[in-house]
Symmetry: C2
Subunit: 299 residues, 2 copies
């Protein structure tokens, strides 16, 4: 089975179309990398690129991305609503298939080291790749942003993991890390009462006593006249979709409310849906290798 890692680099340009195209074009030109999504936001003045491929392919593509972004983006004149600290702001690596979190941590370290030495850029490792608890949280690293970093970087506790202890003049600093795949999953309820969706969200989310890898809130879908439980599944291998779905079903039933449907926003790894099929069909000795397509040889 083909190894697949996802990477979701965020870079600080969401307005100049020709700059975005040159950066993304340089990534596309690297062999073996699939560009799954590009979303640019004018207000944030920021673009989010979703890539997938092998370690080698992503390593190459990431270098091409840094090369172009550092040449074309100058944070000294950058304005946008989204907090940022670098021309390339953050680069997470995400295991999807046939690769582990450990592989992604190793890749983050390799990329961080190379970026630091090749581009003289301070690099912070974050989340699963973090070198200390404080640095697990990206928001904590980014606090102060580009403008505040010349002071922050001199504090001993904020010495970069790789690269010079000096902010890159136009490119700032970058966070490189590893994290689980994030599934954006919404469950629609046969009621217009937002308060029911709110109470269900509270029941399933980690912050108020629910599942460890669930963030959730109630949302009113005005157009459809229904309420929705809007969910971020931050580790679908540990808290699977079907378990959350069934808990919502049971909580909703307590109010006499049915689930009318669910939505996957963006993409979902095959394993997350296979796990649901395995669960409901009670398949014994299940393996993704039972799926014909997963047995095809790579050309």
């Amino acid at each position: 089975m083909k190894r697949v890692i996802e990477s979701v680099p965020n870079f600080s340009e969401g307005r100049r179309q020709e700059v975005i195209e040159e950066i993304v074009g340089a990534v596309r030109a690297r062999p073996g990398v699939s560009v799954l999504d590009l979303s640019s936001d004018r207000d944030h003045n920021r673009s989010v690129l979703t890539l997938a491929g092998s370690e080698e392919a992503l390593f190459d593509a990431t270098m091409a991305l840094f090369d172009r972004a550092l040449a074309l983006i100058d944070l000294r004149s950058h304005k946008g609503e989204h907090p940022r600290m670098g021309a390339v702001d953050v680069v997470p690596f995400v295991p999807v298939r046939g690769a582990t979190m450990k592989d992604c941590v190793a890749l983050a370290r390799r990329v961080g080291q190379e970026v630091a030495s090749r581009f003289k850029l301070p690099v912070y490792l974050y989340e699963e790749a973090a070198s200390s608890e404080l640095r697990r949280n990206l928001a904590e690293i980014r606090k102060g942003e580009f403008e505040g970093f010349p002071g922050k970087i001199r504090k001993p506790e904020w010495a970069p993991d790789f690269g010079p202890a000096e902010v890159h003049p136009s490119g700032g600093v970058v966070a490189v890390g590893a994290r689980p795949f994030l599934i954006a999953y919404n469950v629609n309820l046969a009621t217009a009462e937002l308060s029911i969706a709110d109470r269900i969200a509270k029941a399933i989310r980690h912050s108020s006593g629910g599942y460890r890898y669930v963030k959730a809130m109630g949302v009113a879908l005005e157009k459809r006249g229904i309420a929705q439980v809007s969910i971020n599944m931050t580790d679908f291998r540990r808290t699977p979709l079907h378990r959350v779905f069934e808990t919502i079903r049971s909580e909703a039933a307590r109010y006499g409310v049915e689930i009318v449907g669910s939505e996957i926003v963006g993409l979902v790894p095959q394993d997350a849906l296979l796990a649901a099929a395995e669960h409901y069909l009670r398949i014994e000795e299940f393996s993704p290798d039972l799926v014909l397509e997963n047995r095809l040889e790579e050309d």
Copy 2:
């Protein structure tokens, strides 16, 4: 998304290992074809090869298979328990992903025409590719076997679809066709009573009033001390796994019996399991394109 067609050629050699290896080796040597399975039976004196690939790759691989099988197998001296009429006995093409039944019928016709002209072999099109109702059923075509075919082929209703109206001296005749994917699926019951599995099998199978694309029978699993409903799903797109599973659950409950698990024997197309996930999670506007792996570019 990569187009995937499956082909399951059966050839009349299950004993001489070197012959089997030469035939399968010739197929493996063709680019773009995955050999998913090879199962040879000494008593049947027959081998079943499971291949997957694009139309072009399968066309090439099939020609290589005929070339070697016709050179190495002589039906005049072939004996085996399984009925057979050709050195290559039957070649079905099966749509798995991104290809339709129509594509497979077209491929069966192309392969049939080429095989007829290249090897002077009479070809019968069967199942979805059949030229008449009588020829849909492979058993009907094969009746009389190799030994009876010199007489049968002269009857006007048994004139071959392609090739000479004369049996190939050593290679006989061949059936080439198109059919849906067959899933072998078993559901295990929390009871040792075979009669309950039998009654459930009767409830779900086509022949006794059940689902159109289900064949089923009760089986005793002596070692585990339980009864099983053993199922062939002959068209999972029209009669899906989850519907059959839920019907078994409901029928079993009528006897106070639970389902302890289910088994997929061999391989299953991704779409069959995604359909189960879609059903149980009630996913709105589902498409296989939501699956990240299905969006990867082919290298």
